[in-house]
């Protein structure tokens, strides 16, 4: 019997359908009903075991076009009723997971697992195959470091800088992208809008970034704890105000830290494609793609924003305002520094997977650079 074991001892049995190996990490859940391939290839899932709440995963196979990076980053996949169909796709989902060496388990009562995590919080756990001894499994989980305090961006960042041309033929701005584990959709969203990208490892120095004479800086998603990235926050502080900046997900958290805000670990994170986010400056609500386990604390120490007006305060970079909130739990979802021409969102405007409601933020960024 294969099973999922959590660090608190809760066990869920299932059948192994991926690579026949045991693996440990943080067990999280994603509530999107499609987009499984995009999720597991999103580098932000590094060291995480993804539980999909939708029962049938693999329905339409996998294809090159849906890759969010060059490989699978999730450590394992936990499912209720996996499928290995291939019609119209290039590969069957389970075959692909096995080829990628990714353990996967199906037949799991994922709803019970999700309700447990919802109440007890995300925790470490593992997928174990072939009647692994439960005590040995528990020991393996205990040996897994907790997510808090982990710098995982270093594990997924490229070793060398890279330049990419625009894909729409136009000669738009040059944007320096600090790669903490960027999703392909962010890269393609920018390139499709005429941007030339200078992609830098996350350990790059601000001077090295500025040396390429970019017109703007893009901060992106990535795995791990934003609080463990002081070195990067320091470089961001050196860039803010000098160039227009746009941040997404981890990039949002980094800019928030750069203006003095703290981050904290959410109980079970936001992972899915249905979270409503309100733009407090316009009143518009977007249905967003989300994948984050940490969130930003407001300037007054507030974990939630109860009022529908942007929170404003003064920073080293001029006035800052918290511009977006998550309508599920009223946590912070966006920041703007008008004088520094910088803005961020916690969610994923690039979609991949998920709704396209916020794609316009890339247009806004490109326009802001031109202005």
């Amino acid at each position: 019997m294969s099973f999922v074991l959590l660090e608190d001892g809760t066990r869920f049995d299932g059948e192994a359908v991926g690579a026949p190996e045991a693996v440990t990490g943080e067990v999280v859940f994603n509530t999107a009903m499609s987009g499984y391939q995009e999720s597991v290839t999103d580098p932000s899932y590094a060291r995480q075991l993804i539980t999909f709440t939708y029962p049938h995963i693999g329905n339409y196979g996998v294809s090159e076009a849906a890759m969010e990076s060059d490989r699978i980053h999730a450590r394992a996949v936990i499912m209720r009723d996996a499928r290995n169909h291939t019609r119209g796709a290039e590969r069957g989902w389970l075959d692909w997971l096995r080829d990628g060496g990714i353990p996967a388990i199906t037949g799991v009562d994922t709803r019970a697992l999700v309700r447990h995590i919802r109440d007890a919080g995300s925790m470490r756990g593992g997928v174990f195959v072939d009647d692994t001894d439960e005590a040995a499994a528990a020991a393996a989980i205990a040996a897994e470091p907790a997510m808090s305090g982990l710098d995982l961006a270093r594990e997924v960042t490229p070793s060398e800088p890279l330049e990419l041309a625009a894909t729409n033929g136009s000669r738009g701005p040059t944007i320096a992208l600090i790669d903490t584990g960027v999703k392909s959709s962010i890269v393609s969203s920018l390139r499709a809008r005429g941007a030339r990208l200078q992609i830098h490892p996350c350990t790059s120095d601000a001077d090295a970034i500025l040396a390429g004479s970019p017109h703007a800086v893009m901060l992106v998603n990535g795995p791990g704890d934003p609080a463990a990235l002081d070195y990067l926050v320091e470089q961001v502080r050196r860039l803010v105000g000098r160039l227009p900046m746009f941040g997404v997900c981890l990039g949002h958290q980094l800019l928030c830290r750069a203006v003095g805000l703290e981050t904290y670990k959410l109980r079970f994170g936001h992972r899915g494609a249905n979270h409503p986010v309100k733009d407090l400056t316009t009143g518009r609500i977007e249905i967003t793609s989300q994948n984050h386990g940490f969130a930003v604390i407001g300037p007054g120490g507030e974990h939630t924003i109860e009022d529908d007006r942007p929170v404003r305060w003064e920073t080293d970079f001029g006035t800052a305002e918290l511009t977006h909130i998550n309508l599920y739990d009223r946590t912070v979802e966006g920041l703007r520094l008008p004088e520094a021409r910088a803005s961020t969102v916690q969610y994923h405007p690039e979609a991949g997977p998920g709704p396209h409601d916020a794609l316009h933020l890339f247009d806004r960024f490109i326009e802001a650079i031109g202005a």
């Binding site: 066990r11 869920f12 049995d13 299932g14 859940f29 509530t31 999107a32 009903m33 499609s34 987009g35 995009e38 709440t53 939708y54 029962p55 049938h56 329905n59 339409y60 294809s63 076009a65 849906a66 209720r80 009723d81 499928r83 169909h85 019609r87 119209g88 796709a89 037949g107 799991v108 009562d109 994922t110 709803r111 019970a112 999700v114 309700r115 919802r118 899915g272 494609a273 249905n274 979270h275 409503p276 309100k278 009143g283 518009r284 609500i285 249905i287 309508l327 599920y328 979609a351 997977p353 998920g354 709704p355 396209h356």
Partner: protein, 1034 residues
Amino acid sequence: MPRRDDIHRILILGSGPIVIGQAAEFDYSGAQACKVLAEEGYEVILVNSNPATIMTDPEFATATYIEPLLPGPVTKVIERERPDALLPTLGGQTALNLAKALHEDGTLERLGVELIGADYEAIRRAEDRELFRETMISAGLRVPRSATATTLADALEHIDEIGLPAIVRPAFTLGGQGGGIARSREDYGRIVAGGIAASPIGQVLIEESVLGWGEFELEVMRDRNDNVVIVCSIENVDPMGVHTGDSVTVAPQQTLSDETYQRLRDQAIAVIRAVGVETGGSNVQFAVNPESGEIVVIEMNPRVSRSSALASKATGFPIAKIAARLAVGYALEEIANDITRATPASFEPTIDYVVVKWPRFAFEKFHGVDADLTTHMKSVGEAMAIGRTFGQAFLKAMRSRELDVAADLDVSLETLLERVARAGASRFDELLEALRRGASLETLAQATSIDPWFLRELEALARSPEAAFAGVRSYRSVDTCAGEFPATTPYHYSAWERPAPDGSARHEIARGERPSVVILGSGPNRIGQGIEFDYCCVHAAMTVRASGRDAVMINCNPETVSTDYDTSDRLYFEPLTLEDVLAVVELEAPEGVIVQFGGQTPLRLAAGLERAGVRLLGTSVDSIDAAEDRGRFGELLERLGFQAPPYATARTLEEALEAADTVGYPLLVRPSYVLGGRAMEIVYARADLENYLRRSATAPDGREIFLDHFLENAIEVDVDALCDGRDVVIGGIMQHVEEAGIHSGDSACVLPPHSLGAEMLDQIREQTRGIALALHVVGLLNVQFAVISRPAGAELYVIEANPRASRTVPFVSKAVGRPLAKLACSLMLGETLASLGLPSELMSGRFVAVKEAVLPFNRFLGADTLLGPEMRSTGEVMGVAADFPTAFAKAQAAAGAALPSSGTVFVTVTDSDKAAGAGLAAQLHDLGFAIVATSGTADAIERMGVPVRKLRKVADGSPHVVDAIAGGEVDLVINTPTGSGARSDGWEIRRAAVARGIPCITTLSGGQAAARAISAARQGEPQVVSLQELHRTP
């Protein structure tokens, strides 16, 4: 700025009678809207002609008008009530069309009524084919190549550019009625002509065929801030070509990649914005090419719909309720998600289960109709099931259908493959059987165009159906959020899951300490068992709750109010089989189970429940049996000294023929335990009986056949009564307009009786009392009587008694102003009639109420419209007035068969009706009608001194009577049967009348009532009156 304070009174239009394409879902939507608007402090004015709806319960509105949904009566309501706004998006196509008409004739402007939810222009952009197409193209969306035509010549000009096969849809009709798929030029001409005739604006849309493409629907909501959310995606397992109402559908969509799904989502949002639905829900339908991923927009409904009801039940997101709040000014973010109570409605539900909907058909009731599934909807109901996997949901939905006639699978594989390719009512039964016999997926994909994903799932189910139900049954919650937030709303389904390590099933039920009562619903709507029973179940739930107990509902019909999670304390969305019900009972440990309100569905389970030791509330299983069993019931009547027509039962043909001679012809024959008079016929001679028995009645299981002596020319009477075992209260006595022999569900009836004497009424009351007490009824009892005029005076016969809620309970409740089902439920919970403080007579006698049946013949053009003992109506309407003729005229108008006030009447009657028929013709002549008739009837009419024009019979060649009807020369047909075989003149005449939309009356008593109604209607548009006024204590 949440709630609008500039409006105070809001008019809501219902959808009228249940018809194919417009069913109980609009009661669910409308009732939700009424409730919400009242909560918000608005005064609600409601118009709906259907008394069997919860929304027309007087407590749901400030003023409730059971009046025809036509511009005349509704204008009168507006003039009396002066609403500030009209919310037209909750009553289906009927309400939308009516609102459009009231705008176009200037009524709304004249009386200062604002359309809210969807304005006139948005309705037009969605509903007018040409305008919709232009709107889509200018929004950058692809639509099928198409053209509109108002004449056949027009249509022929476009055939080459569009290509064949082509789809023809008439504008402004329900469920694509009158449309079809043209595969040849010949088809094309015929279907176009039919479509132009069916469309109220004489327009058809001819479209590029996207047959075989995937069919998807998205339920979209938009608020005044232009925020838009997708509530649910629905994928049709049947590809394009089968109407979505007839398709097996799945939520959420299963086969699209996230990339393609997001494109659909973007387009759905673009559609609602382009059409300009300001607030509320819409349904957008797409076809997706399975090879190229190309997407075309098929249509959008700028209102709540059957699909939105399904989406609401599938996700727990109550679309109609939220649409009503949006219409009065709220934004999505200002409305709480009912289920989590902690998050707002401005989100998209995500689900962690699979929902499957199955349509329920009733072709067995309409001999001779084309039973292939097309773009023209033919199903009469639906069942939904929720499972953790597609397999669980599919098989649960399949067993929720409660088929009366199992699919015939005892045929060759070749035949099965032919059938699945044609797509009939049993195609999935056939598909599974073909898979069991080894048919390849490629063959089936080729034959059906069903997506290979579904075929693979079906293959797994065919191989091992039990595999889908491995593990333990575990009750889960529908929570809109896949478990992300705690759910506070107890809406449950059973899943099969691996047990927890300790063996427990991990149920998510918060049972609490209060005693509970389980109410069994009535399953999918079908002919003979419709919304009336759901109405009773909802009343039972209300009563149980009011008594301080938890009401627990089990049902599987997504259209209904009973499956609204607000209706009960706990809702189990489950099939109504013994196994599924017992599983809930085990968990609930209820005080008792109520089987009296859901029609035959729960009654069939009663004995099994009792055997399992479950306590049934109210009338006992033994009493039900004493009423159902012919022998026992006959003895009971004999003991009471009540007359019944002679009868016999038989199990074989020989037995039946022998018994028939003792009983005496004519005979009413039927199989035992049937609903809605299925397979019931009147036979006049031995040869007819033999024919009948050979055809249908000798069931292979050797069940009994009933042979009753049929009382010709009797007046039929229906009584609904309440009994607590000691006392009896008569709820209402209804006299049928059509004579005995027409199924009571298809017959018009009038309350109080219009032509029975006081002495006869007393006798009816006395016998009803006697039967109720002898059967130890606790709850409701329905008794059917026949009254025969004899030279010595009228005689009363008991036809049958049913100790349960009858189809007429809602009608009687509305007519007498007392909720019979609630009262009955109180009795079942232990109250006594004495304690309820009821008057001995509930009928006030201050007004007359007429119930009229609505028949689906316009959907089944091949079927004979002749009324008989087999029930075929889908719904009912009610007309209320101070006198019978006016009430009857209102009911006719509400039923969509408005009687003409002038013109030409065609009369053709059977020989025994000649004299009375001639009298009727004379009456109509006096009212100013021109009379035409076939020779025999014409002679009889001439003898009355009435001028009459003779028409040729069909056999005598054109121009004959059918030509005259088809040519529009006739405004009313009165035709009593002279033989009901297909292709007889009568059949042709009735069919032509239906095709032309002319009222066709097939009984003399019906004709007489019509003549009186026409005469009454000439006094002008009748007064409208609200239920609240009717029942105000004088």
